[in-house]
Each structure stands twice: as structure tokens, then as C-alpha cells.
């Protein structure tokens, strides 16, 4: 088990390294850098001015060298102007530390400086991740229990009318992406055209203070899309368990249907949905980006869109690390959890 974990963590590190390099490479392509120069300095710069701006800000050096700087294995570049003002990759740390350190990269726990938000990346990403974690928490609270209940009820008596209507409902929810259901919800529940002004159409105020009115729609929108899939998986696994031999035995023994479902079937039926729920996190990540944009909730997804749209390289790199880690860690948890839930499978 220990060796398995070591291997997995090694693989995770390797994957993150490759992925961040891909992101670094793509954001540092020449046209992207030119766009960056134009957005940060002046939109009407001539080509020579762009090149000199890139040179002044250290973007004209070797790609691998700069990636090494970002990792913290190569000392950051520095330039001392005539008036003693220091510019360079680590210059933003001067105010806190009183001096400019040689290394300021991932290894030193420094993620860089975002010119978009005029702040340290780790502060921005941390704050935004926390906002998104709150959203995710409520989504999970709503989504998982309702999906399991729908799936179990549909699967315990396969082929009945309840089963068919619940299955249709789950198919409809999986066919409705967030940007469709979100729009429909806003029209239904918050527009003046319909008149049911129950909830708010934006969640900006939820960043400081979550209320029922401003958080219901984003949570509903996200929970609905993920729910159908989990419910269908639960239904399939429940239906399979209900045809197993030991359920028939229990039934012939005279156990009540309620007890069969709750005591005999449920535990075995929940193994498959557990993996599905864990693997749902990467999906939720995409959903977060859409929902946060739609409802203007300035969390992690919103930040990712802003960073990508403005080619804020260091912010984007940190966002991708965070996203990739979320995906890989949930994969790991789902693998380990699966082994514990299902004694038939052992890690070798």
C-alpha cells in the first residue's frame, strides 16, 4: 500500500510538471506575449516597442530558463536601474522582505505576482479557492443525497412507473448543461418578465454573505447537471444488486422489502456511485467556471477565465496546478476508497 502511494504521488508530480510546462509553453508563445505587452503597457505599441518591452520585462530569454525560474530551481532574473530601483522576477517581494531574494519559485512556495489583480498569486488563488470551496460544499450537500435517493428509489423496483419517470428525469438533467439550466432558472425565478422574483440572478453578494436568495440558483444549476449522472449510475448498480442471489434468499426468508433495501442492498449498491461521485469533481470544475461566469461569483472559475482571457501567465499556471491537483487527488481518493469498499479488489 505504501509503495502504491509513493508511486501514485510520483506519477502525480510528473503529470503536474508536464502539464504546467504545457501551459507555460502555450502562454509564452510569441503572439501571446505580444498580446500581453499590449494589454499591460499600451495597445498601440509598434513592433519595436513590443520587443523592447518584452526585453525589459525579461520575456525574451530562453523558455526553459524562465520555466526553471518559475519552478524555483534557477535564480530569478534581476536588473538594477541607475537610480537603484530593482526590477526582476522576485522584485515584488522587496516590500515584504526588505530585500530581493535570489530564488522565488514553486520550490520556495512563491507562486509569483499577478499583474491583473496587482497582488501575490498565492493570496488571490487562496481567496478564490475558498469561495469556490463554499460553492462546491453546498453543491455536494444538495447533489449527492438527492442523486442517491433518486437512484436507489428508481433502481429498487426496476421497470415500474416510478423507475421510468425518475430515469427520464435523470436523463433530462444530464442533457441540460449548466449554461442552459442557469439561463432557464434566471428567467423563471429572477426576471421581471415572468415575475417570480424568488431568487437573485447574480451571486456577487454571496461572496461576503451567503443567503438563500443569492446562492440557490448557482447551487441548483450545478447540482442538477451532475445529479442525473450519479443517479443513473446508482440506479444501474442498485438494479444489479437487486437481482443478486442473496437478495432473493433474503426475500424468501421473509425479510420485509424495506429491510432488504436498507440493510442488504444499499451498502453493496453504493460502491459504484462512490467512484462516480469522486470522479465527478473534474466535471464540477468545468461547471464551476460556467456557473461563476454566469452568476458573476468571483471564485476560482471566474479567476481562471480572467487569467486565461488576459494571458496572466503566473496566475494561469497556479490555477492550472490547483485544478490538476484537485483532479488527481480525487482520482487517488476514489481508487483507495474503492479498494476499502470492495474487498474483491486489492491493490497490487
Amino acid at each position: 500500500m505504501f509503495l502504491f502511494l509513493i508511486k501514485r504521488f510520483g506519477l502525480m508530480a510528473l503529470t503536474s510538471l508536464c502539464l504546467t510546462f504545457v501551459v507555460f509553453f502555450l502562454t509564452n508563445l510569441q503572439p501571446n506575449l505580444e498580446k500581453l505587452a499590449k494589454t499591460q503597457a499600451n495597445n498601440r505599441m509598434t513592433d519595436e516597442q513590443v520587443i523592447s518591452w518584452l526585453g525589459r520585462n525579461g520575456y525574451d530569454r530562453n523558455l526553459f530558463l524562465r520555466y526553471g525560474e518559475w519552478l524555483g530551481v534557477v535564480p530569478g532574473w534581476q536588473k538594477v536601474a541607475d537610480d537603484g530601483k530593482i526590477t526582476g522576477k522576485c522584485a515584488y517581494l522587496q516590500r515584504d522582505l526588505g530585500y530581493v531574494p535570489n530564488y522565488c519559485g514553486l520550490m520556495q512556495g512563491k507562486l509569483g505576482y499577478t499583474s491583473l489583480f496587482q497582488s501575490k498569486v498565492e493570496e488571490i488563488v487562496g481567496r478564490r479557492l475558498w469561495l469556490t470551496a463554499k460553492l462546491m460544499f453546498w453543491v455536494m450537500i444538495v447533489m449527492v443525497p438527492s442523486a442517491l435517493v433518486v437512484g436507489v428509489i428508481a433502481g429498487m423496483r426496476e421497470g415500474t412507473r416510478t423507475d421510468r419517470s425518475l430515469s427520464t428525469f435523470s436523463i433530462i438533467t444530464t442533457a441540460t448543461p449548466e449554461y442552459v439550466s442557469g439561463v432557464v432558472f434566471i428567467v423563471l425565478f429572477s426576471s421581471s418578465a415572468v415575475g417570480l422574483k424568488w431568487f437573485k440572478g447574480t451571486a456577487t453578494s454571496a461572496m461576503d454573505d451567503i443567503t438563500f436568495a443569492n446562492f440557490t440558483l448557482p447551487v441548483m444549476t450545478m447540482a442538477l447537471y451532475g445529479m442525473g449522472y450519479i443517479a443513473r449510475m446508482t440506479r444501474a448498480s442498485m438494479a444489479e444488486v437487486m437481482t443478486a442471489q442473496y437478495i432473493r434468499t433474503a426475500r424468501l426468508k421473509g425479510v420485509s422489502f424495506r429491510n432488504i433495501v436498507l440493510k442488504h442492498a444499499l451498502r453493496n449498491a453504493l460502491i459504484a456511485p462512490f467512484t462516480v461521485i469522486m470522479l465527478q469533481f473534474p466535471w464540477l470544475l468545468t461547471g464551476v467556471v460556467i456557473v461563476e461566469t454566469l452568476f458573476n461569483y468571483k471564485g476560482f472559475g471566474w479567476t481562471l477565465v480572467q487569467a486565461a482571457g488576459n494571458n496572466d501567465i503566473e496566475l494561469l499556471l497556479s490555477c492550472s496546478i490547483a485544478a490538476v491537483l484537485v483532479v488527481l487527488i480525487t482520482q487517488l481518493i476514489s481508487d483507495i476508497g474503492y479498494v476499502y469498499l470492495n474487498p474483491k479488489i486489492r491493490v497490487n
Binding site: 503529470t15 501571446n32 441540460t176 426576471s191 468545468t286 481562471l304 485544478a323
Partner: protein, 384 residues
């Protein structure tokens, strides 16, 4: 002229869709008549779910096909005075013409845009899914069959792409700046090679004992494929038949790239499972080549789950295309595709909800139809 009531609006729309209804009726009549001879497709007509799904999917496919006959106005032209007008408003200065579903923010007809959007989505989504399948199958079969290093390497790559949040990948790959660097062309050049490789291998492994037949089939495929390849990937088709707008190519390639690792994983899993069957062992004993076994023994027996996944994946691709449009990536601003029209409409959602809703329902119904069709197919193919 007085604005139309809701009943009249739906009546008008029903009449506009006449070519679709006629074609649908014909298809359903003849399919039901000969359903015993049509294999899996014919058996769809035994399952109400499958039939509903087929109905919805065919409706949109035919709508895309007959879009020119259905639209009431040019989807791009703006009529003054029709900005944000409600559904059923008569068009100013035109006798008997109405904006059936109202006008959008730029005074264009929403109904016509929705219909044209179907053409956009249905010309990309199935083709992109097909290409993703070609890539996934061509790589997944050997990964599962040979295993070892090849499998480890390819699986690592696939998992790496899958670990990327899709949106981030789109934001990195679908930008005007990326188009300047030529990366989409390189990706297209690589990804479009897989279908050619797949088809060549298919004929070579089967007919290598009959060189005459092999040369004929391989030659024909090679000529057609390379012709299409030069046009689609490099925009260098000498006859100008195959052509893809650089914007479209960028979107297409990215969607294929995002989808193929999942297909790879599915194919690899199925291959690992089927490989242990007796008929594979029999073929190996007969001394068949590895590619023959993969393409002519394993692949046909994996068709059930693959067809089902193909339907689901077209739906997923439709959602992805909508997502791209929603974030305004890769499509021109006036493009009538559903994602960008939803995005345009959402800005004024609380005052004018009507521009965003028709494309939203259209997208939802198409994906729902594909999901139902996949369910029906799964049900029927399990009956074997």
C-alpha cells in the same frame, strides 16, 4: 398588422417545419415497414425510448439539412425597428412576415438563427466525434492488445490530457493568437493522419493475401483521404473542394483532441476484456497478424458499447461546442451557433428572456434525443 398570438406562432412554426415533417414521416414509415431487415437500427422501433430519441435526433438532423427552406429571414440580416421585439411581432415594411420567436439584441430573427444554429452544430459535432473515435480506436486497440510499455506511455498521455480542466484547454488552444502560431494546423496534421492510418490498416490486414484487391482498396482510400487531408489540414486542396475555415479548424481540432483520450480509455478497456476470449486465441493459433485480430476480431465485437458511446459523445460534443460559444471562443461574433446565441441573450436576460431561451431548448432537446437514442440502443443491443 397585429402581433401573432402564441397559438398562431406555434402554428406558423409547425408550417415552417413542413419539409422536416414530411421527411420524418417517410423515414419512420419505411423504417417501421422493413424493421425486421434493418438489424439494430430496426430493433430501435421496438423500444419507445429509442424511438423518441431517434425522432428528436432526426428532427434536428433534417432541420439542419433543410435549414434553407425553413428559415423565414436571413439569420445575419438586421431589420431596423425589430431590436428585442417580442415573439410574433410583424416585420416592419414587409407584408405577412413575422419574427416568429422575436428579434434579438441586434434585431435579427431568433427563429432563423436557431434553425441555422442546428446546421452549425450538426456539421461539426458528429464529424468531430467520428475523428475522436478514429484516434481513440487506432491508439486504444494496440495499447490494450500489446500492453506493456506502449500501454503505459499512451495511458499516461491520455490521463494527462484528461487531468486538464476542459475550459482551460479551450482557453489555451482556441484563440486568435494560437492560430497565428500554426499550432492548430500541426495538431490537425497529426490528428487527421489517424483516420487514414486506420483505413489503410483495415484493408491491409484483411486483404494482404490478395494483393490485387488490397491495392485497389488501399489506392482508392489513399487518393480520397490524402485529397481531403491536404484540403482540411493545410487548406491546400488543388481542386478546392475540401476546405475548412481556420476558425472552424481550430474549434474542430480542439474538440477532437479533448474527446479522443476518453475514447482511447474505453477502447483500451474493452480490448483488455475481449482479448481473453476464445475466438481471439483461435485467430492467434491460425497465425493471423496482430492488426487483423485487433481490427477484424476485436473491434467488431466491441461495436455495441462503442455505438452507444458514440451517441452519448455526440451529445457531449454538442455541449462542448455550446461551452465554446458561451465563452465566445473560436466562433465569429455573428455566428448563429447555439452557445454564442445563449451567451448573447444572457446579458439582457432579466428584461428580455426570449432571445436566450430558443437556442437553450434546442441544445437541450438535441442532447436529450441523443441520450435517449443511446439508451434505446443499449437496451436493444443487450438483448442479443
Amino acid at each position: 398588422m397585429a402581433p401573432l398570438s402564441w397559438l398562431e406562432i406555434f402554428g406558423q412554426m409547425f408550417i415552417q417545419f413542413t419539409p422536416v415533417w414530411i421527411a420524418l414521416a417517410l423515414i419512420f414509415f419505411f423504417s417501421a415497414l422493413y424493421k425486421r431487415k434493418l438489424g439494430l437500427y430496426g430493433r430501435l422501433f421496438d423500444s419507445p425510448i429509442g424511438m423518441t430519441g431517434l425522432f428528436i435526433v432526426l428532427f434536428w438532423v433534417l432541420t439542419a439539412l433543410f435549414a434553407d427552406l425553413i428559415v423565414t429571414h436571413d439569420p445575419l440580416s438586421q431589420v431596423s425597428g425589430m431590436k428585442n421585439k417580442l415573439p410574433g411581432t410583424p416585420v416592419r415594411g414587409e407584408e405577412g412576415a413575422y419574427y416568429l420567436l422575436g428579434g434579438d439584441n441586434l434585431a435579427r430573427d431568433i427563429f432563423s438563427r436557431m434553425v441555422m444554429g442546428a446546421r452549425f452544430v450538426l456539421s461539426i459535432a458528429p464529424a468531430a466525434t467520428l475523428f475522436a473515435f478514429m484516434v481513440g480506436v487506432t491508439l486504444g486497440l494496440p495499447a490494450g492488445y500489446f500492453g506493456k510499455r506502449l500501454d503505459t506511455g499512451l495511458s499516461f498521455l491520455a490521463n494527462m490530457v484528461l487531468a486538464f480542466p476542459v475550459i482551460l484547454l479551450f482557453y489555451l488552444l482556441v484563440t486568435p493568437e494560437i492560430r497565428v502560431t500554426g499550432i492548430p494546423t500541426i495538431m490537425a496534421a497529426v490528428l487527421f493522419l489517424f483516420p487514414i492510418a486506420f483505413l489503410m490498416m483495415l484493408f491491409q490486414s484483411r486483404y494482404y493475401t490478395e494483393p490485387a484487391k488490397r491495392n485497389l482498396y488501399c489506392g482508392i482510400t489513399l487518393i480520397i483521404c490524402l485529397w481531403a487531408y491536404s484540403g482540411l489540414a493545410f487548406n491546400a486542396d488543388p481542386l478546392g473542394v475540401f476546405y475548412m475555415d481556420p476558425n472552424l479548424l481550430n474549434v474542430f481540432v480542439s474538440v477532437v483532441f479533448v474527446n479522443s483520450p476518453t475514447v482511447f480509455r474505453i477502447v483500451r478497456g474493452i480490448t483488455l476484456d475481449i482479448q481473453t476470449r476464445d475466438y481471439v486465441a483461435a485467430a492467434q493459433t491460425r497465425g493471423e497478424g496482430a492488426w487483423y485480430i485487433m481490427l477484424w476480431e476485436i473491434l467488431p465485437n466491441a461495436r455495441g458499447p462503442l455505438i452507444v458511446d458514440f451517441c452519448l459523445r455526440i451529445g457531449y460534443t454538442t455541449i462542448l461546442l455550446g461551452t465554446l460559444g458561451f465563452f465566445g471562443l473560436g466562433v465569429s461574433p455573428e455566428s448563429p451557433d447555439w452557445g454564442s446565441t445563449i451567451n448573447d441573450g444572457r446579458k439582457l436576460l432579466s428584461i428580455y428572456p426570449h432571445p436566450a431561451l430558443p437556442p437553450a431548448f434546442a441544445l437541450m432537446s438535441l442532447v436529450l434525443g441523443l441520450n435517449l437514442l443511446a439508451d434505446g440502443l443499449r437496451e436493444e443491443s443487450l438483448k442479443d
